[in-house]
Symmetry: D2
Subunit: 343 residues, 4 copies
């Protein structure tokens, strides 16, 4: 069999580990041949490929990013996108596709498989850990670790200067990274999209620490969190995916509120892209390898239209469409673990 | 309630995070008071205590080791051990005990609870991940990461010198660390107690790599692995828990076999104690915090004789005796994930 | 002798290592007794102290921040500041002061020593490495390493997405961190206050990379760099030391210019406070220990009014006033090392 | 000009950074063309080459090891070695050689240049930092950091268990790594070849700590240290460069002595090869880049027979033969910095 492999959406530590496992396992156990498709679905539309054999994946396990390149191109944004994908599959002589990506990338794979007869297998990727179909995905653990390391460093500055530091981490719609990095870093408050808070709530927590003689605090906030009652909360992402310059990051707005309300010296750190690049940690390398290995098996078993997923400690497979249907929010009882450590 | 807290057995990254969670959650939610018992069961026998309030646990989340100290003392090795423990509990005015430890430490807690009427809650600790009652324990993930970092470093040396490097990692009875660090580090062979291999098997894998033009290899081996048919495999641990000097580490015996059989330049690294000390990674801090929080709840709920455990992504509780009854070996299908990457 | 020890200005990895060395060496070799002065000169004015003996410094070597606390209080901003400092010295019964800080903190020490008869020894601290009196100071190497680690991580994202990433690092007046982290991280352009560049220069370098087939770039910029001909370059720090919200970080202005001029997908990362907190690296621990040890010796030798400094590989001592008199900029020949790697 | 580049001796973090700088600077500033010579002098004898242009060095800055491979082959061990090297230079059409290596590799370069008319430039490499011609070399700082990280981790284990841990680090003839990692890690004793100590001295230091209430100790020892009066100190390296199995590592012999003399629970860790592999730290990347850049300039300037060296903070050049003539030991005053922290 000749298998096309592509990565779509934002990059994530572990993508190369998935690709390596797909190729090594597919080759060694099933005699698969692989074609790397450059930069996600765009490469299929344009038939731009990357060599992808056992030599090509040698040494990529510890590397961040993706050797295939990535893009956010969604073929179904044009009316003939489906046909052009099918044409690409035929032109490249592919028997099946393995698509590694998030809701958008895998949504395309589901449609190609279900409606256009292109045999597809999916591997879920979301650094925010917001796909309901899988307990965790690769990259998330690395992002949590990077954010935790940063919080560790910020603690000593906060303590030495009697400061409040507001740390903004990734999480557009959900608070997984904030909750986990906040728990691991010993945050004094964690603000996530799932749990509404006003600036008064935040300041109350910090004041209660001061009352206990703790003159410094670390507040961890998801980028997608909004303060209740915040008139500044509108504003849009621009064409480059950036907040408008007139729009102020949530960390800044919280810090302003804390300064105004408490008078404490307050600083902000926006971790940004450092959370998603570089070498995956051991957990993510292992999960990515298990995902890629199982994806190769699904192809060999002809289980198309399905994606791999982690449930508990096991790799299972579920329909792609089901896996990306719902946003996975932080359950209240998980967030509640952090609350006794606040204030 | 007045709760005694102790840590027993080998140290493990995350012990302090458990202790902090027990104290913070017990204090904040249930009004518990805590007494630190020094150096495991020995401190209960001798009634040596350590202050353990909210101030005492401030800042310990990221620290390795245990602020309570630890020992391998097992009170039941003397005939009146049970009575002396009960006497210690009374002398210290304790209403309950939270014991954090492995098979041995928790076995004592089970017996004290079940036969001597001392209300005990257990928190499992095993850096080798060999307790059947819980999917994972804190410390294991950190150990895997440390071993993986070492393997990453060794790769460049092996490749630059056309060398075989044999890396010995922890795991007296089971191969969890070897399997996970080997997978994450891209090992070319992984040798674990659960899977018998002869030196000929190992050399065959290395030769097959050479046949593919790869002139270097990384072999990861559990300290408890033994080569089938190895006449040197006897030898005992001495009174200090060390192998007799006449006894050669398994990594050395494997390296000797590889040199003799293949003639390749072969070196060894025994990672040893660096795997178990120092700051826990984010995963272990979170798991330890969840364990400690739940242990405080079990005490408040009067669910004695039980230990916390991880099942899938949830914290559950099970009878202590059940949790430590069986060794948890690496399942064949998990080890099989690594095999296509060998040779 | 009874020695007061204080830390002033922004925190810096290695402060605790200096304090430990001052106390351990002063105690062991000279029988000194030490008094910790809380939060810089403010603690002397208010006579707020912190216990500072051999036990107090146990275990602080690897810790970030300062166990003494710090502030930016400058006593000479009030007319009677000198007298109040002298009064504090007498009230606390101090025979000498060791002041650890930057231009401002050490300027006070020089004046107290030279005009008010308070025997002072200085230890230079500047994370930006901008004090002319010493080749390097502790904290700088750690900051460079943290920034380099971040650049390593950003490389994989930039490459996978064909992006330009602009990384802003510390350096208000000089480009040491940018130059060193840029060299170590393999930056494609480094922008520092010492070397004027227009946005056209920056875009030309990036375009020349594209012409070579490299579709991604990393630009490292000092926070104090200004584009030549940039009308937006005004704007002030507010009372909290933050840029006004209307004021846009230099990284953002550069990224806007690149987007407008080249059309490339361009992102920014502002590393901020993570660069100055947390455990010092080995280099900084050693330098800080050597500085602290030598400061204790200077006190014992009665060499007051002097500060320690690194010249080549040796610790020397120079007049405090001389050591902080001039800003140390990056010499053109050092910056020139990086230039062949641009574009 | 057409320049051959080779790396000889043990690998060292930063080799690839030197190679990259030689190629990038030589190409960009001087129009040099480069030929990679595989595995040190052996590749010149056998005329085995590796492609070495700007593309070949792309992305290698952060990688450990050497893309050229390395060996310990010394051509002058055979009588016609010099002629065969000259023949290799002619056969490969080389105008000059840049040799990156230690005493042995650079000794060959000096002889080829001085007696055989092969224009050579040297770059010193020694992870032990034992070449007298240069203050520091790349790789050493990374090795010190790795050893320091290990010592940090071991501290928590030693403290939790009331243990002595003896850590053996690299340094066959000199104690630079032990002294620096010991200082940075806060070791309680540092044992180096330059400073004779008996087992009684070591035990006295540990006992004095116990007398102060410190029940744990970290002892750092260079692999080349020998106890005075130790009857077991003979024993030879075998043909693979390993100690004979009958020969016991110095860490083990010290630990045995401590156990016997003090009765304290004592463990050993031999860090071994992990100290020399993997990504170089920022310091070593910068130093290696400066060395490689200057080596390219020396070739362009026709300054043959010379090697680059670090003096203070400047890169200078000196005769190769002079640079490798003497072993650089740790000066007594540098070791003395550590002594007040012992015991």
């Amino acid at each position: 069999m000749r298998i096309g492999v592509l990565t779509g959406g934002g990059d994530c530590p572990g993508l190369n580990a998935v690709i390596r496992a797909v190729v090594r396992v597919g080759h060694a156990r099933f005699g698969h041949e692989h074609v790397g498709i450059h930069a996600g679905w765009r490469g299929l539309l344009d038939q731009v490929t990357v060599p992808l054999d056992v030599d090509a994946v040698s040494g990529i396990l510890p590397r961040g990013g993706t050797i295939l390149g990535t893009s956010r191109t969604n073929p179904f944004k044009s009316p003939d996108g489906g046909e052009r994908c099918v044409a690409g599959v035929h032109a490249l002589g592919l028997d099946a596709l393995i698509a590694i990506g998030g809701e958008d990338t895998l949504g395309v794979a589901a449609t190609l498989n279900d409606r256009h007869g292109v045999p597809c297998v999916g591997v879920p990727k979301t650094i925010d850990n917001d796909l309901d179909g899988t307990d965790y995905t690769f990259g998330f653990s690395t992002a949590v670790q990077i954010a935790t390391d940063a919080i560790d460093r910020l603690h000593s500055t906060a303590e030495s200067h009697d400061r409040v530091i507001v740390v903004e981490v990734m999480g557009r719609h959900v608070g997984w990274i904030a909750t986990y990095a906040g728990l691991a870093g010993g945050a004094d408050a964690i603000l996530i999209p799932e749990v509404p808070r006003s600036i008064e709530d935040v300041c109350a927590a910090i004041r209660s620490r001061h009352a206990r003689g703790k003159n410094f605090s670390i507040v961890v906030v998801s980028e997608g969190f909004e303060l209740t009652g915040d008139a500044d909360a509108e504003g849009e992402l621009d064409e480059f995916g950036h907040r408008q310059l007139a729009k102020v990051a949530i960390a800044e707005r919280i810090a302003d509120g804390i300064r105004t309300d408490t008078g404490f010296d307050t600083r902000t750190v926006v971790l940004g892209h450092v959370q998603r690049g570089g070498t995956p940690n051991a957990y993510d390398r292992i999960l990515a390898t298990r995902f890629g290995s199982r994806a190769a098996e699904l192809v060999a078993e002809g289980r198309f239209g399905r994606m791999v997923a982690l449930r508990g400690d096991e790799i299972v497979d579920i329909p792609i469409a089901e896996g990306v249907a719902r946003l996975k929010t932080v359950p209240p009882e998980r967030y509640a673990v952090a609350e006794p450590f606040f204030g």
